[in-house]
């Protein structure tokens, strides 16, 4: 029993790390455009396929697949911003609608080009590690370590570098940021590329554990949106804590309460937290 609790907690943390990775990009985009960026769900799917083709079809090492997915995500995010979002800046409803349309578009392009059939990747690293009598697959630990590493890197970028400072300024007040000479176009390009890259990486990291198929992005997108709201807009550490919390509650809830409602628990946590703290756990007031 106790062992199971620990085991499921760790599994939950790993899922939470993936949610947090995707939510990090969403959070940055959301805080500078005021829009929940649904197209990240589509980027996630396309990047997972790119990673699959590099690793399985081209038979290249797994880290190249990871980089390819990251690059594909960045390119998609960058071009969406450049071609579409830039022309609708400030029109929240239209931005939201375009984001939903792009999500539809990418998922259906994936169905059309690559069929709805699920494809499977080999594990990046095989074998298991034993901690205190509990077995964990190396793959899962790799996911956890790499996502934490990325998380720290992005955090350092946002808090310790000049472009990061520009992003924070733009997210607080777009017009004031422009007044002090911050180029809002550059900041947008940067944030959308970063968000795309993070979604792509999350997809490539998780796909060997599950499968690659066109609808694979739906639930991670949903969960990443919850994580952003739970953690609070504009809060980077909030994303990490909310991601972990959501992953653990889902994992424990699925094991001990009902596996059918695994994806419904997020709704209750969301309502509960928002009723107590309407701006999220760490949100700015």
């Amino acid at each position: 029993m106790m062992q199971n609790v620990v085991f499921q907690t760790v599994n939950g943390l790993i899922m939470g790390a993936i949610y947090a990775l995707m939510a990090l990009g969403l959070n940055l985009i959301w805080s500078i455009t005021d829009v929940p960026e649904f197209s990240q769900g589509g980027i996630y799917v396309v990047a997972a396929y790119i990673g699959y083709f590099v690793v399985v079809s081209a038979n290249l090492p797994w880290f190249l697949g990871l980089f390819a997915a990251m690059g594909a995500g960045a390119v998609l995010g960058f071009s969406f911003e450049k071609l579409l979002y830039r022309r609708m800046r400030g029109m929240t409803l239209n931005l939201l609608l375009s984001a939903i349309a792009l999500f539809f578009l990418l998922v259906n392009v994936a169905v059309w080009l690559w069929t709805p059939k699920a494809r499977f990747l080999p594990l990046y690293v095989g074998g298991e590690v034993v901690f205190f009598g509990l077995q964990f697959s190396r793959q899962r630990l790799l996911v956890l370590v790499l996502s934490l590493l990325l998380f720290i890197l992005v955090n350092l970028f946002v808090w310790r570098t000049k472009p990061g400072k520009a992003i924070r300024a733009a997210s607080q007040d777009r017009e004031a940021a422009q007044l002090v000479g911050i180029n809002i176009d550059t900041v947008s390009s940067l944030v959308f590329s970063l968000g795309g890259a993070l979604s792509g990486t999350a997809a490539a990291l998780i796909s060997p554990l599950y499968a690659v198929y066109p609808a694979m992005g739906d639930l991670p997108l949903l969960k990443a949106l919850v994580v952003v709201i739970l953690g609070g807009l504009g809060s980077v550490q909030g994303v990490l804590i909310a991601g972990g919390l959501l992953g653990v509650v889902e994992s424990l809830g699925a094991t001990f309460i009902s596996s059918a409602y695994q994806h419904g628990f997020s709704f209750f946590i969301l309502i509960l937290v928002l009723l107590l703290r309407p701006r999220g756990l760490f949100g700015r007031v």
């Binding site: 539809f104 578009l105 059918a260 409602y261």
Partner: protein, 328 residues
């Protein structure tokens, strides 16, 4: 002189509008006589979606609250009505208003905590509510039949009319008139509502929530009321769908359904009631016309949507304004 000329022009315009409305009404009334079963079937669905989009417009277009739960209330209405007739054995004509009341109250219960949140926070919470409702449809097998669906739903009971004889709602052509009558009733109700004092209160909240609150409007209560009315109408539309399609499956009420309603409303132009109805009709027909290439259906549709958004951000209503100078 000038005034008489002006008033003559106005009355001429009124005659033109009335004439056009009569022609459109006659066209809609005569469709079942000429069209094939398939066309009538698609039109019934288009009417139901038009009622959904118009009722959603009350919340989004007039009260300014973006919700992704409209499809969920539509689904709850469909299942509630089906279960009332199947399990309690009540006739459709009792279940139909009962469903509306039930969904109205339920939406009040959901809206009360959720509408304390603002903007995108509220939108994402409703998004999750919709997903949760879908999970309930899928997993509470004893109640909803789960993934097997709910079958054996009967069409509304027919009745005798003095001249026309027996009205049988099992017939597609008769159901067409039922759906059309429902749509007209919904739009008529909403048209009167948005022009009433209550409707102006909703618009005040949309325009500036803080300002509305500061002049003494209980914004929280009115937002919940708008949410509940719009949801109750969606529930009744769901009831009509259940007794038309006679088979309910959870996959009809995924979060995509809610997204579609949002898109229909925005494509038509929010805050116009007629725009969203037109949007619903056009979207339903485009998706049906594309059945010959099922894989390309949503691709073409998404590209078309993005094109409209880039070049005509106000939706179809914006195009109408451009063509005719004003919204008829």
């Amino acid at each position: 002189m000038v005034t008489t000329l002006l008033s003559r022009q106005v009355s001429l315009r009124r005659i033109l509008v009335l004439g056009a409305a009569t022609v459109v009404a006659l066209l809609f009334l005569s469709v079942p006589m000429g069209a094939t079963d398939y066309v009538i079937y698609v039109m019934v669905l288009a009417f139901l979606f038009a009622a959904l989009a118009a009722s959603y417009d009350l919340l989004l277009g007039y009260t300014g609250q973006l919700s992704f739960a409209h499809g969920a209330f539509y689904g709850i209405g469909a299942y509630t009505s089906a279960l009332i007739t199947l399990r309690a054995g009540l006739p459709f004509w009792v279940a139909f208003p009962l469903t509306g009341v039930f969904v109205f109250v339920l939406a009040g219960g959901v809206g009360f905590p959720a509408l304390k949140l603002r903007g995108a926070y509220f939108a994402v919470t409703t998004f999750f509510f919709a997903h949760f409702v879908y999970l309930v449809f899928l997993n509470s097998v004893a109640l909803t039949g789960g993934p097997l669906g709910l079958s054996g739903i009967r069409p509304p009971e027919g009745f005798n009319l003095p001249i026309l004889g027996v009205v049988d709602f099992g017939s597609l052509r008769i159901y067409y008139y039922l759906a059309l009558a429902f749509l007209v009733a919904v739009v008529g109700f909403l048209y009167i509502l948005v022009r009433s004092r209550l409707g102006r209160l909703f618009v005040a909240i949309r325009e500036d929530e803080v300002l509305a609150e500061s002049i003494g409007i209980n914004t929280a209560a009115y937002k919940v009321l708008s949410f509940s009315i719009s949801a109750g109408l969606a529930g009744m539309t769901g009831s009509l769908f259940a007794h038309f399609f006679r088979l309910l499956h959870p996959s009809t009420f995924t979060w995509m359904t809610s997204e579609m309603i949002v898109i229909m409303t925005l494509v038509g132009g929010t805050g116009t009631l007629f725009g969203p109805m037109l949007g619903a009709g056009i979207v339903t027909f485009i998706l049906e016309l594309m059945r010959f290439a099922p894989e390309l259906r949503f691709i073409v549709w998404a590209v078309a949507l993005l094109t409209i958004l880039l070049f005509e951000p106000k939706g179809l209503a914006g195009i109408a304004v451009r063509l005719f100078g004003r919204l008829v």
